[in-house]
């Protein structure tokens, strides 16, 4: 098993908890990056231990801070609830029960000017996260690699087209996972690469036949 030196000697983060604060910040930030624009309105639902202890751990401030674009080492996370108002972001924090979910689970429904995203994320310890549901699709992304999220139609050749575009631009695919709602329906494909994919290639990817949208999330 391989570990990153700065996961042991780190991460550098606002306290008090790597799982309930640092991880929560990262899920919020991932949501902001997937939305790709400022968050105007957000509904945050905490489950399990997150629901029980979010006030004492500042998990609410953490998620809102992430939605404002702050990473774990940004001290502004502490004041994120006030800063959200200043930036014109409306938010609502609620709790719910869902015994099937991991104890440190949050669902974020975020709206931007002309887009919205529904993301469910899990904080698995030490600041590490997993994104497990996006817009109703079961996904699996840990944001440990540079990640592309491709929204497309389930049609023959679409995946080949994407792979061809990436290889044509010199990128190696490290991991690839598909999730579709039904045959011939909608698909979300998660592609992880060893180096960040440049904007030109992302644009080319979004031109592939049957691709509806591409989001690039650099490793963070």
């Amino acid at each position: 098993m391989s570990v990153n030196m700065f996961d042991i000697l780190g991460p550098i983060t606002v306290g008090p908890s790597s799982s309930h604060t640092a991880g929560a910040i990262r899920i919020g930030l991932a949501c902001r990056m997937i939305l790709g624009q400022d968050v105007k309105k957000a509904k945050v639902t905490f489950y399990g231990s997150f629901a029980d202890t979010y006030r004492g751990h500042g998990t609410d401030k953490a998620v809102i801070g992430g939605l404002l674009g702050y990473n774990t080492d940004n001290v502004k996370v502490r004041d994120s609830l006030q800063l959200a108002q200043l930036h014109g972001m409306e938010y609502e924090i609620v709790t719910a029960e869902e015994p099937r979910f991991h104890p440190n689970t949050v669902r974020i429904e975020a709206q931007g000017a002309d887009k919205s995203v529904s993301l469910r994320g899990v904080s698995v310890g030490g600041g590490a996260i997993r994104l497990v549901e996006l817009n109703g699709f079961a996904i699996d992304a840990a944001c440990l690699y540079d990640t592309l999220i491709v929204f497309h139609q389930d049609a023959p050749g679409t995946l080949a087209g994407m792979a061809q575009t990436l290889s044509g631009c010199g990128y190696n695919i490290g991991n690839l996972r598909l999730s579709r709602d039904r045959r011939d329906g909608n698909v979300i494909t998660i592609i992880e690469t060893d180096v960040p994919v440049d904007p030109k290639t992302v644009a080319a990817l979004s031109q592939v036949h049957n691709v509806k949208g591409v989001v690039s999330i650099p490793k963070f």
Binding site: V3, N4, I8, L9, I12, H57
Partner: protein, 290 residues
């Protein structure tokens, strides 16, 4: 980096008679693609954050986000400044800095989660105190931190550093092992002594429950950081004297994991056992959340 065992670290170190931190840097460089200088620079930045957090915690009486704790680091630091401390100077400073870091963490200050946020006071507590006492350079402190990271990496690889998985022994015990190794290394201990310092420190935490009041990283976590900083110093001192752990370091780590697997869930961070469900612990929880 991929460091499967303490024995691997020692074997590699013995090959060219290198210190442990050299091996750790080499492994991380191969994995991350970063240069040695870039890695050192990042570790130095980490050390700066540790220093800021420790000082932030002792300089004023801060309160935690929940309001449950705070002010003890400043209280103990005053005690030390007034020369009323019973602990020796090194341990007393380590106690103050470890408490300070942990209180700063509970107040949502920026800390280094090494190995976790809950156990973030031990390593900086010991290293910052030792640097003040013995005056080694920041470069030497960085080497010690890299050594500590090597020990932490082996624990994370062979066992766990998560309280939810292994109880507090996995968090503050690992922090204490890392701190003992850092101190032994920077005070001139051999690679073998450094790993035995870690083993002695970790043995001393075996079986430790993770039973935080109201599920928050405050009671008993903050004081435990201070106490295990002192234990780390004791472990390093023993190792420097030539005392060895009867059970080899890798076997101690494996034992910690095995004990962690056998701990009931109620004392693995769920706040459903131990101190968390004492009458006072439950009262504090009710006051906070209802």
């Amino acid at each position: 980096m991929n460091i499967p065992s303490i024995d691997y670290l020692l074997d590699e170190a013995a090959k060219d008679n290198q210190p442990i931190w050299q091996i750790v840097l080499r492994e991380e460089q191969a994995d991350s693609g970063l240069s040695i200088d870039e890695l050192r620079e990042r570790v130095k930045k980490t050390y700066d954050v540790m220093r800021e957090a420790a000082n932030g915690g002792i300089s004023s009486e801060i309160r935690s986000v929940s309001g449950l704790t705070g002010g003890d680091a400043a209280r103990y630091y005053r005690h030390l400044k007034n020369r009323k401390n019973l602990l020796g100077s090194l341990s007393a400073r380590a106690m103050a800095y470890a408490l300070g870091t942990s209180e700063y963490n509970a107040a949502m200050g920026v800390i280094v989660a090494a190995p976790t946020a809950g156990a973030s006071g031990v390593l900086p507590g010991v290293l910052l105190a030792a640097q003040e006492e013995y005056g080694f350079t920041d470069r030497e402190a960085v080497n010690a931190l890299i050594t500590a990271t090597g020990i932490g990496a082996v624990i994370a690889t062979r066992a766990t550093i998560s309280g939810a998985q292994g109880g507090c022994q996995a968090e503050v015990g690992s922090g204490s092992a890392m701190a003992a190794a850092a101190l032994c290394d920077v005070m001139g201990g051999s690679a073998r002594q450094t790993t035995h310092a870690a083993a002695i420190a970790l043995k001393n935490a075996l079986g430790l429950a993770c039973d935080p009041v109201a599920g928050l990283v405050e009671v008993p976590c903050i004081k435990r950081n201070g106490m295990y900083a002192c234990m780390a110093i004791a472990a390093a001192d023993l190792a420097l004297a030539g005392v060895e752990s009867f059970i080899p370091p890798d076997e101690v780590i494996d034992a910690m994991y095995q004990i962690g697997c056998n701990l009931p869930a109620c004392i693995r961070e769920t706040a459903e056992g131990g101190l968390a469900i004492t009458p006072t612990g439950l009262k504090a929880k009710r006051r906070l959340f209802f």
